[in-house]
């Protein structure tokens, strides 16, 4: 199918692939610019070779050598504290449950802190996850101070000698300064007992260009150390994380591939790039890939059965 010459159509196709994946104009232009230079130097002639180069460029943009290990278990003295933040409905509470699942499957003990005291039944939701995966949940009064729930969760974790404390926070849009200040306070109050090991920003893969602004503001307010890109089991490609990593230096560490406890996987640059470039990718392509890699297709819905957390291993 490859053409002899790289015509405008071939370049337009490249640009469209990137734009349709939410990579964004600026990153797209930067990538296409670099491609054009390389094509000149290498004398690339076919559209197929061009796609190959594009794959290389995307991979380079995401820098596979980036450290994506999750700092999730303590030093033996204190538990590792993970703060989970993001805009409304991104998947924070679910991701807390999934990470706890993985850690517990690996023999660690986990305390979940329900520092979303605002949204209706948010603490109940986390408690259901706690039961599902077998971890203690610390919660406070509805409408109470989220910072003090977070503080209590860390304290409980320390007293119980837990390996990890995962603090779930309320969803907040980054342009709400009052809520962002509240989040800053949650973090500072936790830090009275010691440093936060990871601050994970949850980004929904369907998010468009606003994702970069989310990352910028949340990083400013609470020094995000990693992104979890959720809902990659749909048709969205999540290309905004390229700009997030390139602009802010914050890497994606984990991906969400469904609503079940085992639908979490480490972020794999090559897999992500392949899926981004695969126009024909349909139903849960990444989910299938993740399953394949672990030696078999992933079951479609895994809400109620208790498989092991086979796709992701805590470091």
């Amino acid at each position: 199918l490859s053409r002899d010459r790289l015509d405008d159509d071939a370049w337009e196709e490249i640009e469209e692939t990137l734009l349709m994946a939410d990579v964004g104009l600026e990153s797209t232009n930067r990538i296409v610019e670099r491609l054009r230079e390389r094509v000149k130097v290498l004398g690339t002639r076919t559209a197929e070779e061009l796609r190959g180069l594009l794959s290389e460029e995307l991979t380079a943009a995401l820098d596979p050598s980036f450290d994506r290990a999750l700092n999730a278990t303590g030093d033996g003295e204190r538990p590792a504290v993970l703060l989970v933040v993001g805009v409304n409905g991104a998947g924070k509470t679910t991701t807390c449950g999934k990470i706890a699942r993985v850690l517990i499957a690996d023999g660690h003990s986990v305390v979940l802190g329900a520092a979303d005291t605002f949204r209706a039944a948010a603490a109940d939701q986390l408690e259901t996850w706690g039961k599902r995966v077998g971890s203690t949940v610390v919660r406070g009064p509805e409408g109470g101070d989220p910072a003090s729930v977070a503080f209590d969760a860390v304290k409980t974790g320390t007293e119980q000698g837990a390996d990890s404390v995962l603090v779930d926070t309320a969803g907040r849009l980054q342009n709400k300064t009052g809520l962002m200040d509240e989040l800053g306070k949650v973090k500072r109050v936790i830090e009275k007992q010691g440093p936060v090991a990871e601050t994970l920003l949850i980004i929904d893969a369907t998010t468009g260009q606003n994702g970069l602004e989310q990352a910028r503001v949340f990083t400013e307010v609470c020094q995000v150390t990693g992104v979890v890109l959720t809902k990659l089991d749909g048709t969205a490609k999540g290309g905004i994380v390229i700009a997030v990593q390139q602009t802010l230096g914050v890497p994606v560490k984990l991906i969400g591939l469904g609503e079940g406890p085992d639908d979490l996987a480490p972020f794999d640059v090559q897999q992500f790039v392949d899926a981004l470039l695969d126009d024909s990718r349909s139903v849960g392509g990444l989910k299938r890939l993740a399953g394949d890699r672990a030696g078999g297709p992933a079951p479609r819905r895994e809400h109620e059965h208790g498989g092991t957390a086979r796709r992701y291993r805590a470091p």
């Binding site: 469209e16 734009l19 349709m20 994946a21 939410d22 964004g24 104009l25 805009v87 409304n88 409905g89 991104a90 998947g91 605002f118 949204r119 209706a120 039944a121 109940d124 939701q125 408690e127 259901t128 996850w129 599902r132 849009l173 980054q174 342009n175 709400k176 929904d204 893969a205 369907t206 998010t207 468009g208 260009q209 606003n210 994702g211 602004e213 809902k231 089991d233 749909g234 048709t235 969205a236 490609k237 905004i240 609503e259 349909s282 139903v283 849960g284 479609r300 819905r301 809400h303 109620e304």
Partner: protein, 299 residues
């Protein structure tokens, strides 16, 4: 964060202010700027393309060449075209001749359906209706409790015969809610459903089954204003899988430009009826196409 479209276009038009007909090169340059503005606002690429096509046609016409300030004229055209698409035939909720009126909510995970259910219930109650909420998301952990809390805040009954969190048949609950509503003289039934992906065939079939069992007067598609290019695929999937009669744009209190509004309007052909603008029950309004057009253009 973004330059507004007028700033972008002023560069092009400074040189030809009042000079009459635009050259093809001017039109192309203009189209490029508009394309950029729309893409940065997350309007889906196929929608951008057809939009640009229409605008270019109009730019070649007499209204621009006769204008004293062609730049302002182009912006006016862009704005008008946006409002036309976003507005369409604006309409109110349709009510059933024989109550209860059934309003079914559908959308992706986390879009804002349950919150909207509470908001709609309160809004309708304030208009002297007797709405009832139906807990037909039996999947997401504690979705039933979430709806119950919201119902209590709105002062509206919540029909929740099943505990949810994986237990209960949502189709059965939705179906039986209608008889319950009739018995208790509720004139509107608002059905909250689980979030689902367009590609999840099993879950889309479930949504269709809920629809078939309740024959909704309105099926409202709730979509997050932060969504990017996936808006098209998702809107198509819900249009084809469930059928959409109206759209609700959520989280418009954020700073996303909300270009998805354009995509979804174009794809579904159905009106955007409401805007969700916060987490509280009263953070809810009808949709204003003019405001949305300005927002998308950053003006």
């Amino acid at each position: 964060m973004f330059d507004s479209l007028s700033e972008r276009l002023s560069g092009i038009f400074n040189s030809l202010r009042g000079k009459g007909r635009l050259s093809e090169a001017d039109i192309d340059a203009t189209a490029r700027e508009i394309r950029m503005a729309l893409l940065e606002a997350d309007v889906a690429l196929p929608v951008v393309k057809s939009f640009i096509h229409n605008v270019k046609e109009r730019c070649r016409g007499a209204e621009v060449s006769k204008a004293l300030n062609p730049g302002q004229q182009v912006i006016k055209i862009v704005n008008e075209e946006l409002i036309t698409i976003l507005g369409g035939e604006a309409r109110r909720l349709s009510f059933a001749k024989n109550p209860p009126t059934v309003i079914m909510l559908a959308g992706l995970q986390g879009a804002g359906k349950t919150t909207l259910a509470g908001k709609l219930a309160k809004w309708l109650k304030d208009q002297n209706h007797q709405p009832m909420l139906v807990a037909a998301d039996l999947q997401r952990p504690n979705a039933v409790q979430q709806l119950q809390v919201l119902g209590e805040r709105a002062g509206v009954e919540v029909y929740a015969p099943e505990p949810g969190s994986g237990v209960g048949d949502p189709v059965k609950v939705a179906k039986e809610s209608l008889a319950h509503a009739t018995r208790h003289a509720r004139d509107i039934v608002i059905i909250d459903t689980a979030g689902r992906l367009g590609v999840d065939e099993e879950m889309m079939a479930q949504a269709a089954a809920i629809r078939d069992a309740t024959n909704p007067d309105e099926t409202l598609f709730v979509i997050d204003a932060m969504i990017g290019q996936d808006a098209v695929a998702t809107a198509e999937a819900f249009r084809d899988g469930v059928g959409i009669s109206g759209v609700v744009l959520s989280k418009l209190d954020g700073d996303a430009r909300g270009g998805a509004a354009l995509s979804v309007r174009q794809v579904t052909g159905q009106p955007i009826m409401f805007a969700s603008i916060g987490e509280k029950l009263e953070d809810f309004d009808v949709f204003y196409p003019e405001r949305m057009a300005s927002r998308i253009l950053g003006m």
